[in-house]
């Protein structure tokens, strides 16, 4: 796995798991790989993946069954989508708008460009 600078690795791994849940790799109610298996897959320290799993549990996206590992929660896909939408409006959109203002691009131009893509 390639990591970007200036963003904690545990968050990047959590986001990867979110993408995988959204993509249907871990259906709701199904078990995720163990922390060690996942650590080996992304080639990082086990403790880093423990933090990613903790973070996802706190968000209610996955849950821990004692002695059995982590499972994708009911409604995990929806929570991920919700959380990604939040990120879009909080992080991606302001950057996008800033670029538009810098370049003098109007919302109509953007709409036009989007329509011609479809």
């Amino acid at each position: 796995m390639q990591f970007k600078d200036h963003k904690p690795i545990f968050l990047q791994i959590a986001e990867r798991i979110c993408d995988e849940i959204l993509g249907g790799k871990y259906p709701e109610g199904e078990r995720l790989p163990s922390v060690r298996e996942y650590a080996a897959e992304v080639e990082v320290n086990v403790n880093t993946v423990v933090r990613s799993f903790d973070w996802l549990s706190q968000k209610g996206i996955i849950f821990n069954k004692r002695g059995m590992g982590y499972f994708a929660s009911q409604g995990a896909k929806e929570s991920v989508r919700e959380s990604l939408r939040e990120t879009f409006f909080q992080e991606s959109l302001p950057e996008f708008v800033e670029q538009m203002q810098k370049l003098g691009i109007t919302i109509e131009e953007v709409e036009q460009a989007m329509n011609s893509h479809e």
Partner: protein, 230 residues
Amino acid sequence: MISIQNVKFGYRIHQEVLDGFSLDFGMSGIYGLLGKNGTGKSTLLYLMMGLLRPQNGSVTIDGTSATLRRPEVLQEMFLVPEEYDLPSISLKSYVKAVKPFYPRFSNELLEKCLANFEMTPDINLGQLSMGQKKKVYMSIALASNTRYLLMDEPTNGLDILSKSQFRKAVIEGMTDDKTIIISTHQVHDVEHLLDHVCIIERNKVLLNEPLVEKDAAIDLEELFIKTVKD
């Protein structure tokens, strides 16, 4: 715990590589031992193994002097040197000869590591390339299941894919009670594996800290350059 206290060592008279050097590996975990070339990283590993004797000071493994080379200490230690020769015998015979020295040797882990490195168990050690030799020896090292595993520049001579396989093998072979010490100047090859980082420069420990991510990702190379320069 491996404790290095006030150690003096040189290969020639009046040319000490280490002098008054102290460093502890207290908790289990994966340690990165970083330093510029010629700062004594390999020397330290050999001192821990009892292969070199300090001219002054002490190196102890769980309280026992490394110099004594006690079997009960050595059965919990494994060193993968940077370069080594392996005899021209089958892997099977080699494992048969090595295994009795390590009470927790795991055939299962050996097979897993070899498979991970895309090596088969039916090989002759005399017919391997340098990279393949490293992979086989590292598999044996991990399978020995010793409490302490020391690796000197383990990613040297490995191609990109093999480096990735190496990281997977270390993570799969690691357990909570083990201490793995990886000496390297190839910071990027191992940075995400480490629990703890030690940066040394002649006689001095410049940095000895657990690696805990706070708000941003830690760039170990940046940290290294900054620490060595200051």
